[in-house]
């Protein structure tokens, strides 16, 4: 086959030397490998370019493992010479449509060579015959049309219109010269670069410095603009939008003003301040891994020791405008329809969209709320970064909350849309909440154990919480004095604030880092906070004021004791801190050091503490250049990395618009007492189980829809012991979500004290996760 191609080359005029050949880039953005290569064996059997067996007899192209819907990119500049659109998306083994190629695009390149892209998606083709296309330009999407046994991209190459097909890969059994800009390891996807390039950090200069095929990418929020501003004080003709780079880009005499660095930080870490409550999309109890790639949302399903299956979610791809930070920074995951499966939502320009998991994939995305639109000003970071999904009404559906110009509002989920609006705290722009140091601290968790997510944030005068009620949100409850005056307006501190239950009492506490240390403040279970407990001396003086360190504070239960432990990345690697009831002890984490490049935001900001393998111990995971990796917790340390060769730098995931959207979270549940309320209050996976006889306690124990009916209070009062507050069950001994405080009588003197510790034990055992 190769010989035939060479012969054709010789016969054709003008001849093209290999050195003059048009070189190809990878015809898609992701890192999908070569499934089956060109067959270089003229007889039976097959031999790929490296003399391996990754091919089949007579194969005249390269089959890349692109899933359905992957955007197919032009391998080089060229002109469209043929196309076909109209074959079914799924052909079959031996299907003849489109000459077996299904829907296709053929390009002619400058050297006369031709590339053809087969098995594409019907209706997806974006070019017409005669169109000029540039290297990397989208041509359409991949599918399985024509003769195809499943979604993939067949790339064919021939040296001329009449030349025989040949292999662009070079190898011992292939050609002597690769036709790729950069051919990589055996069967790995070639480079995404359109031309030979020596990579260097991307800077604003109109060039593709990092050789990724994009020019000045991430200019507003990554590396572009570093210190090369040129304000001459006269005409300021070089003025441009201020960037976080230590320079006065807009020539106004100030550096990095207007929260540019704060907003950049928020863009980098949405999963830290708006953490998903679950990413278990298939309901098997494992934390799956989801993120937005070039073509849209994709989930890798965790099972056993790896991520063997992939789901493609909503097509929130770059081509449809989702590469806009005001959109991709709002990707959130939670169970919005109460079916136990994690769904995915995000803000489009018209409003909030969600795609529900159906257990076998995602339904089509739908507009759940026609609000939060660009037209209403929600494309401002002070608004779109505050979007949260949390269950404020205890119905099992995660609701939508966000801070608009007038304050925080929530919209209740009805399982199919976000409907009724609930007014939250009036954290308005007018009152100063338009500053990142305030809106950037909005956190939601169930502080009082009633099953409703409450909301907190840092005001000028300190931490404030508002408890969710049946009607909306209550008044502000003052928390720790994390005031502006005390320096908490500095992003090195406020950005580290987390609600995490460090002491396993079932109530989220407030943890964070100030100039001296990492610490937690105990919650009182009623929205307030008390004792401060030091966790670790992470002082600015010792370098912890570096964003690559302080911005990595994460929480998760590493040792299965029911408490959230804290992890943070030092220059030498990750350190974790677990509370043992008296003090925090240190656990060494993965050695993700500066020397190994982990001080780059695209790596350390992807750090997640999540039970990825279902053993009830949270693992430490992050994206490295070579892809996703999780170090499984052993309880007092971490094992060797389990890796997924996806989300690699090579696959283009070093761009903020992709890596910042990574979501991975164990299914969490805040344990309470099971009530007859249609909710799994005790986190055991069952709803309203074990109805018992009604007692006088303000709850519906027998699940008949009535509370304290049948004169139970009148009957039991004579036998009741001392009223609560007078020697009865002390509030602090009750488990989270404990008995409603509205009833003034108890079943019996002994039942409260005996029952409360038992419930607390149950709470500890079942806390955090429920499994199907």
């Amino acid at each position: 086959m190769r010989a035939a191609a060479i012969l054709a080359l010789v016969l054709l005029a003008p001849q093209v030397a290999d050195a003059q050949r048009t070189l190809l880039r990878r015809p898609y953005a992701e890192s999908y490998r070569l499934n089956y290569g060109f067959d270089h064996n003229g007889g039976g059997g097959c031999s790929d370019y490296d003399c391996g067996g990754a091919c089949y007899n007579g194969h005249t192209g390269s089959d890349f493992g692109t899933p359905f819907g992957t955007t197919v990119l032009a391998g080089a500049d060229g002109r469209v010479t043929a196309r076909n659109d109209g074959c079914a998306n799924y052909g079959s083994y031996g299907n003849t449509c489109g000459g077996r190629c299904g829907n296709y695009v053929q390009l002619e390149h400058a050297d006369g060579s031709r590339t053809i892209y087969c098995h594409m998606r019907s209706g997806s083709l974006r070019v017409s015959v005669g169109d000029r296309v540039s290297c990397g330009q989208p041509l359409g999407q991949s599918a399985s049309s024509g003769s195809s046994t499943g979604p993939h991209l067949h790339l064919g190459w021939r040296p001329s219109a009449s030349g025989a097909s040949d292999d662009p890969f070079a190898g011992a059994c292939g050609g002597p010269v690769s036709l790729w800009v950069e051919q990589r390891a055996y069967r790995e996807a070639p480079s995404t670069s359109c031309r030979a390039c020596t990579p260097s950090p991307e800077v604003c200069g109109g060039g593709d410095d990092d050789c990724d095929g994009a020019v000045d990418e991430n200019a507003t929020d990554e590396v572009c603009g570093g210190g090369d501003e040129d304000c001459d004080g006269a005409t300021d003709e070089h003025a441009r939008a201020e960037l976080c780079n230590g320079a006065d880009d807009d020539c106004d005499g100030t550096v990095d003003e207007s929260d540019v660095c704060e907003v950049r930080l928020l863009h980098r870490a949405p999963a830290a301040y708006a953490a998903p409550t679950s990413t278990d999309v298939d309901g098997d109890g494992d934390a799956d891994l989801c993120a937005r790639g070039y073509s849209g949302i994709r989930c890798w399903l965790r099972e056993g020791d790896g991520w063997p299956a992939v789901w493609d979610g909503p097509a929130w791809g770059d081509e449809s405008g989702w590469d806009d930070v005001t959109n991709f920074a709002t990707v959130r995951m939670a169970d919005v329809d109460g079916d136990g499966l994690a769904d995915v939502c995000a803000r489009g320009n018209r409003g909030m969209y969600c795609a529900r998991s159906n257990g076998e994939g995602f339904d089509d995305a739908a507009l759940w709320l026609e609000a939060l639109s660009d037209a209403e000003g929600w494309d401002a970071p002070g608004h779109y970064t505050t979007i949260r999904l949390a269950d404020i009404d205890r119905d099992g559906d995660a609701d939508l909350c966000a801070r608009g110009p007038g304050g925080l509002d929530c919209w209740r989920s009805d399982g199919a849309s976000f409907g009724e609006r609930v007014q939250g705290p009036r954290w308005s722009d007018e009152l100063g909440w338009g500053a990142a140091k305030h809106y950037g601290t909005i956190r939601m968790a169930d502080l009082d154990g009633d099953g409703r997510a409450d909301v907190c944030a840092r005001a000028v005068a300190g931490w404030r919480c508002h408890l969710a009620t049946d009607e909306g949100f209550g008044d502000a409850i003052e928390g720790p004095a994390l005031t502006d005056d005390a320096g908490w307006g500095d992003r090195r501190y406020w950005s580290t604030l987390r609600l995490a239950d460090f002491d396993a009492d079932g109530r989220p506490d407030l943890c964070g880092r100030d100039a001296e240390e990492l610490f937690c403040v105990r919650a009182d279970g009623a929205g307030g906070f008390g004792e401060r407990v030091p966790a670790a001396a992470l002082a600015d003086e010792s370098g912890w004021g570096d964003e690559s360190n302080y911005a990595t504070v994460r929480a998760g239960d590493l040792d299965g004791d029911g408490a959230d432990d804290l992890c943070v990345r030092a220059n030498q690697g990750v350190r974790c801190y677990a509370y043992d009831g008296a003090a925090f002890r240190r656990i060494e984490g993965p050695a993700w050091s500066d020397d190994d490049g982990w001080n780059a935001a695209r790596f350390h900001q992807t750090m997640r503490v999540v039970d990825s393998d279902g053993d009830r111990l949270a693992d430490v995971c992050a994206r490295a250049a070579a892809g996703w990796r999780c170090h499984p917790s052993t309880g007092d340390g971490f094992g060797a990395a389990v890796t997924l060769n996806e989300m690699t730098d090579e696959g283009g995931w070093d761009a903020l618009r992709y890596w910042s959207t990574i979501q991975s979270a164990s299914r969490t549940c805040t344990v309470g007492v099971e009530r007859c309320d249609g909710v799994d209050d005790d986190c055991d996976g069952a709803i309203d189980e074990h109805p018992v006889d009604e007692t006088c306690d303000g709850a519906d124990e027998d699940c008949d829809g009535a509370i304290d009916e049948g004169d139970v209070c009148a009957m039991e009062a004579p036998d009741a012991g001392a009223p609560v507050g007078d020697g009865g069950v002390p509030p602090s001994a009750e488990p989270a979500g404990g008995l409603a405080p509205t009833c003034t009588c108890r079943v019996g003197a002994g039942s409260g004290p005996a029952g409360a510790p038992w419930l607390a034990l149950v709470a500890l055992l079942f806390r955090r996760r429920r499994r199907s």
């Binding site: 039976g44 077996r100 053809i116 979604p151």
Partner: protein, 252 residues
């Protein structure tokens, strides 16, 4: 006795005539295994192909392991009776003619499916996807390109007398039918099934992802739709069979 007959059929031998069979005006419609396809039938002789398993997410040739008509074990893409000969499109894409004198190579770089009528065989050839249509006469070895400017061509069908041809093409950017000498026919359905279409008078019986359809070659309209049926077989006996599950039934 019946078991013996079945065994003989499986071995490609002629089944002894039985009164019941002799009463039929059409040949029997056979059943095959789920991974088998019927390629042709002449009297009691059948050519059956077992579809070799394919790797996922690729586009390998659909190779069949043949049985019957003395072709047992041969790996091929298609095979048909043509008069007293057999044409076999082997897995190396070489079209060969087999007769009493032996085997003769007829053409190369040939793709399935084949269409046989009037002593001729139609097919497409070339390199994916820009195949051209061709017509060969096995008795003489004559091979002729047909409308070679219309590419890609696929799934050709010869008219009942073997004189004319229709095939599908995407030469204009979308799948259409093309009749050399007459031009394009816009039809909502075009043949895409591994089994080829069958030209029946004024209509073309074809199979695609949606089942079997009968398309009026004058208007392009679908005049009959059989979504439960899949592959078509035009047998050397003159019958047209279609597959329903693992069995074939006579549709004409």
């Amino acid at each position: 006795m019946r078991s013996l007959c079945l065994l003989l059929v499986l071995l490609g031998c002629s089944e002894p005539p039985s009164p019941a069979r002799e009463a039929l005006t059409q040949p029997a419609a056979p059943s095959v295994a789920a991974d088998e396809v019927l390629l042709d039938q002449r009297g009691d002789a059948r050519i059956v192909g077992r579809v070799e398993p394919a790797p996922p997410n690729g586009d390998p040739d659909r190779v069949l392991t043949l049985r019957g008509a003395g072709l047992d074990g041969r790996r091929a893409l298609d095979a048909r009776f043509v008069g007293d000969r057999i044409v076999v499109l082997d897995s190396d894409h070489v079209l060969r003619v087999i007769d009493d004198a032996g085997e003769v190579e007829l053409d190369r770089a040939v793709e399935a499916p084949l269409s046989v009528a009037g002593g001729a065989v139609a097919y497409v050839r070339g390199e994916m996807p820009f195949f051209e249509a061709a017509r060969a006469v096995p008795a003489t070895g004559e091979v002729t390109a047909v409308a070679d400017s219309i590419r890609p061509a696929w799934s050709p069908a010869l008219s009942p007398d073997g004189a004319r041809m229709v095939f599908a093409t995407s030469a204009t950017g979308r799948p259409r039918l093309y009749l050399p000498g007459r031009g394009y026919v816009d039809a909502p359905r075009v043949p895409t099934s591994p089994g080829g279409p069958v030209w029946l008078g004024d209509t073309l019986a074809l199979a695609d992802e949606a089942g079997v359809a009968f398309v009026d070659l004058s208007t392009g309209q679908v005049v009959r739709d059989e979504p439960e049926l899949t592959e078509l077989v035009a047998t050397a006996d003159g019958a047209v069979l279609a597959r329903r599950g693992d069995a074939y039934e006579v549709i004409r």
